[in-house]
Subunit: 408 residues, 2 copies
């Protein structure tokens, strides 16, 4: 008698191993609860504020694209994306010192999808993936879905510490494990907000090369420094081992679902094949709309306005937290990006309190939803880009009262 | 000395196993060659003809969506899609007897992506996947990417033969393998064009249940029967084991990249989690645009016009093939869908001749690109929906001359 596919435990569906314990399930619950309730102030979702976008221009572009190029825009397209958009992407990466040919770029339906493609190509079950401590929950979920073992590397204000990383790699080799890859968000990191220093970028690339690791450089926030300054990417100094991931979701809009991947040259064709097999191609219509936006003169000004706006929102958040949070609450001020990573005094359990916070009308991401090892009960991530300054002030006051009560 | 991640063969990157031998690489090459050459008549790509779409209405819809709902349309959204579109999907599936709640539907960026999500959840390396003979190359590539062993089941005019399937499942169990799933395209199958009979649908569902297999029911063409008739899906008679896949790429337009997945209820939440991890969410903008199209009164009429148009194109193709192809060339006439599956006389090698065909201005898919075992040198797939009637006649004449010369 053969086993029923949905009830037997031997041999199991992969789903049992690969989904249940994903670190993002808690985040997902919080997001969904927050989304379903009207009037909630959400510091949880890493969503950009879209109010500065030139909607009328975008609407006209969309109209024109469907009218003039409908038969192309609404048809299948190339797996790696349209050439016009790939050229813009090359120009964007050049700002950070990445020299690429448009033929090397693979456009994807968001950089999250690109992470999945690269993970599918490179991670065998049991491989060790190193990441900042804490790191982006959505990427950790991808690596968990491919059954990687995730090791968090200690860091400080300048990002993860190369000597600690090298030590942990050696420990993994010595334990008979396979250290496969370092995952890092070098700019305005999610959720920690820190920037990886220039020296450490070079050093980490070198360690990966010496130790036989790949390097995943995930860079959704690089152009969102408040002062407009950018740093040199890791990729130029370690091109043979680096997968560079870019996104239009934070600097433009997530609704088109467009990001990209620059793979090591030796893996470009296999990755294109994986993209083809997994998704056929990203939406041509959306690519044309994004290309029209990047062709126009306004996107740099719009981005500059966002930088100023996000800085003002962070200042409002920090001001309100200073006023309302219990003594002993700390954070490191980020120089850009979307997130403030806050540590609260002992006695406050951010994991336990998130539900009460939502009851009172404020959502955040507790540290436990970001670490993969149960840590994080004294930490929380606050996303400051989407809510208005007024909502930020109100939300911080509500959180301050809640945490003060919990401490009392 | 640790190994270099890109050169060592032990332990290898997954990419080495999972991409190189995918059956779609040959198709991909043909498509790309065909796409790059102007003026080529392509019977290769499974692309719909878009010329009947109401582009002005779609352009107006796109303009209105960005203007009125830009902050929603261009933002992140729910992993399983917007409720309005999920309600339309439920109505579409009801035409084929599927009774689902909109909450059970997962909208994806194309049904190809949905196939990947379901494969990720269910296939362990070495699991046996059964499929029609021949079957859709893109799905075979997905299953190969998850290291399934693919077994093709013999079929006839009424689709795959249940007794043969049951026998092959028993053989697999007896050999100590794990028969995991039956993949079928029951309506106007790709590439064979046949319809699975009503009796066989019920029987195959029952065999899968008895033998402990899942069933993947892939249905991009169900509404594209030339006479507008539809058949009852398999899902209603085997809901606990069936993944139902739907697509808007053939009945509307591929450029929005929208399809869907209806999973067995017990696996709905894990599949939603997989979708979230792999892609976050499908484009809200595209979902709103599709919803506006389905809200309107015209899509049924448009679809009816396509049915007539595609029937006329198939008639033109068959007429021209009858006139030009060597004696002994055979095919079964499909009652809908996109494909004519042609068998040519011994002495003609469709695999060898495809390059010369492209040289002469015509692309097709040789059978070898569809089978996973090297078979198919006497077969080819001709897609008749995209080229014009005139191109179809010209293309068939060129192919007829080429094959006749090869035979001589």
């Amino acid at each position: 008698m053969p086993p029923s596919p949905l009830t037997t435990s031997s041999p199991p569906l992969k789903v049992a191993d690969r989904v249940a314990s994903g670190p993002s399930s808690e985040v997902r619950q919080i997001f969904q609860t927050a989304l379903k309730r009207t009037g909630i102030i959400s510091f949880a979702n890493g969503s950009p504020y879209l109010g500065e976008l030139p909607f009328h221009q975008l609407a006209d572009d969309a109209h024109r694209i469907v009218t003039e190029f409908g038969s192309t825009a609404l048809q299948y397209g190339a797996s790696n994306g349209i050439p016009e958009l790939r050229r813009h992407i090359v120009d964007l990466m050049a700002i950070e010192g990445v020299a690429a040919d448009p033929e090397q770029v693979i456009v994807t339906a968001g950089s999250q999808q690109a992470l999945g493609f690269a993970a599918h190509a490179t991670i065998n079950p049991g491989d060790v993936v190193f990441a900042e401590s804490p790191s982006y929950a959505g990427a950790m979920a991808v690596f968990a879905a491919y059954e990687a073992e995730i090791v968090h590397v200690p860091g400080d204000r300048d990002g993860l510490i190369p000597a600690e990383f090298e030590c942990l790699v050696r420990v993994a080799w010595a334990a008979g494990k396979l250290p496969r890859m370092l995952y890092t968000v070098p700019n305005f990191q999610n959720p920690g907000g820190m920037n990886l220093s220039a020296e450490r970028r070079i050093l980490l690339g070198r360690i990966c090369q010496e130790q036989g690791l790949l390097l995943f450089e995930d860079n959704p926030y690089g152009l969102l420094g408040f002062d407009g300054a950018t740093m040199r990417a890791i990729q130029p100094d370690a091109p043979d081992i680096t997968f560079y991931f870019g996104s239009f979701s934070k600097m433009f809009a997530p609704g088109l679902r467009l990001g990209w991947l620059l793979a090591p040259e030796a893996l470009h064709q296999p990755l294109t094949d994986i993209a083809q097999t997994a998704a056929l191609n990203p939406s041509v219509f959306n690519q044309l709309l994004l290309t029209a936006y990047l062709d126009g003169p306004s996107w740099r000004d719009t981005l500059a306005r966002y930088r100023g706006l996000y800085r003002a929102k962070l200042e409002a958040l920090v001001g309100a937290l200073t006023e309302h949070m219990p003594a002993g609450t700390t954070w490191d001020l980020p120089a850009g990006g979307f997130y403030l990573w806050v540590t609260v005094p002992q006695g406050i359990d951010t994991h336990e309190l998130v539900h009460e916070a939502i009851e009172r009308g404020v959502a955040y991401v507790p540290g436990t939803a970001i670490y993969t090892n149960g840590a994080g009960r004294s930490e929380l991530r606050l996303s400051f880009c989407l809510p208005s300054v007024e909502e930020i002030r109100d939300g911080a006051a509500i959180l301050g009262r809640l945490f003060s009560e919990a401490l009392a």
